[in-house]
Symmetry: C2
Amino acid sequence: MNERIAQMPDGREITIYDIAKHLNISAATVSRGLQDNPVINKNTRKKIFEAASQLGYQSNNFASSLRSRQTHTIGVLVPRLNSYFMSAALAGMESVASNHGYNLIIAQSLEDAEKEKVNAATMFNKRVDGLLISLSYDTVNLHHLAPFYRRKIPVVFFDRVDLNQDNTCVVIDNFGAAYNITKHLIEQGFKRIMHLGGNLLRNVYRERLEGCRQALSDHGLPFFEQLHFTSTLSEDAGVEAAKFILGLKKTERPDAVFSSNDTAAVHCMLTLKAAGVKIPNDIAFAGFNNDPISKVIEPNLTTVNYSGEIMGSIAMTNLVNHLKGISDLSSTNSITLRAEIITRASSVGALVLK
Amino acid sequence: MNERIAQMPDGREITIYDIAKHLNISAATVSRGLQDNPVINKNTRKKIFEAASQLGYQSNNFASSLRSRQTHTIGVLVPRLNSYFMSAALAGMESVASNHGYNLIIAQSLEDAEKEKVNAATMFNKRVDGLLISLSYDTVNLHHLAPFYRRKIPVVFFDRVDLNQDNTCVVIDNFGAAYNITKHLIEQGFKRIMHLGGNLLRNVYRERLEGCRQALSDHGLPFFEQLHFTSTLSEDAGVEAAKFILGLKKTERPDAVFSSNDTAAVHCMLTLKAAGVKIPNDIAFAGFNNDPISKVIEPNLTTVNYSGEIMGSIAMTNLVNHLKGISDLSSTNSITLRAEIITRASSVGALVLK
DNA sequence: TTGTACGCGTTATCAG
DNA sequence: CTGATAACGCGTACAA
């Protein structure tokens, strides 16, 4: 391994021409040799690699991309980078991409549709080979992705997807998971169930709400519209939700809360606990995401577990397979990953007590 | 805003030549107009932008990079993507970069020096304009960064840095923070202080250990080598540390633990609590990072707060300023950011009780 | 198996 | 202020 980086006297970088000159062969041969093109004589190839390493050659990706129209770069556009789920998803994506020789360009929309639009344009201009996207909080249409479709650049949605079009999506069964976790609460004897939900523009929050409603209705229980608290599901939103609950007359308070994410659930719990509310005896809780905090809060939070890492790697694997011609995106419209209810102390015991 | 993406009849993309032909001017003028070059007539520029938008022109970054030798892309090389601190740091970096017209290529070393090396090479080949790096767990030298120095591509280290060379680093005062938090424990009356530490190859863990030692020695207390537990500071490591403590005779157990991160501290606490150990009465705790879980664990964890977001944005701002010629990296060798002790219930009360 | 010659889309240089 | 032309470094028909 040669640590020295050679350089031409005038400061230019080493090119295949320099290698060619060095070996008295043509640049075309060098180019082919470097690509392991089988038509090249084994011995020649060997000499090319030796010379390349000796001269400190580093291939120039732009020139290559310009010519081959492939960047080996994949754009990843997410709402926020700093959540446990998203960083796990990114980690999964990065591993798969890296294993297949692809790099990631990552940008965050900060939950802003306008920034998502700008980022999409940037990625398009950078000529990413494919795009992985999870929609921002308030994205209303997919016009900003039109350039990708137009040029047949594959786009894979994950988690926060758009199911109205025939897009390739990697998701979980949000409706089913919400249904089951609500059913679990009902089976524990809870009857006034509150829902902390997100923006209904996003499939994940819409379906979780619907799953909750359906479970209630299937069990002959009402959904209290006044107990449907919509927010961004942030820490602060959790605190606000708690204040809302504390502001209700005791008889109007929910006996259980199903939150569309763990962050809001946990910070709601903390605030309630500080106000003397007993969990789960006074109010039970269930969340969504199996965030690390759900195992730390006391009582531990019942939640829905699904792996960001797996979702990220599945999404990326699909994209890469498509790019390599191994599979076709159009053949797999939607991939639904496993999500499981994890029952913990925050949601049990009501039946026993009542 | 024109949503249609035009395309030449033969499938080629629109180029500046097409715009030039359309307006009966030269491609050079178009290029200059698009770059807002002041020498271009205002009216001409306007016509160029109109034609570009009308034809659905999208600039080709490769061609541009090939020619201008600038990619407007910054490489970010981190140990892992999925930690709270790191995702906050990335979010900070992304915001600043994006505001200055730069994109991020992000890769993770997964704490493996070899992968860090490969990633560095990839980024170099992608011709990133600059590199931001936080070292992997077991990186022992900086040979893999030599190509960057050779070509004068600016490198900025953050958090896990290498202070032995004259690198530009963005850090906190790990020694001081560890010193102060240990002092805090001592002032609460604790005398047998255990340290959960990381790999001493990394400045952050080495300095935290040293700060701890110094505080003990300054207060006439011994540092018990057998109570120096080195690990990766993962969740599992926290559990292992707890098992280690539980395996000690009661008289040999520490009365306080200072952990180099919150994750290990919290999972150590959880395991101890499950075994009936009272915190802080039996064993007090202090962590590092102010991870969200530190506010959820009971009792809340005393810790050191420093902002990943700020560290990321400062590091990126410095790099970008350098790239834009606003400042020189060599003039700022090391930037030390504020870190503060946050005292919470996990570490108080011992004096009162003893 | 190798070489020749050209094009990818942009920007820099030098004239005008 | 604008135009013509030559790079930038690589990949690939086509020819040998």
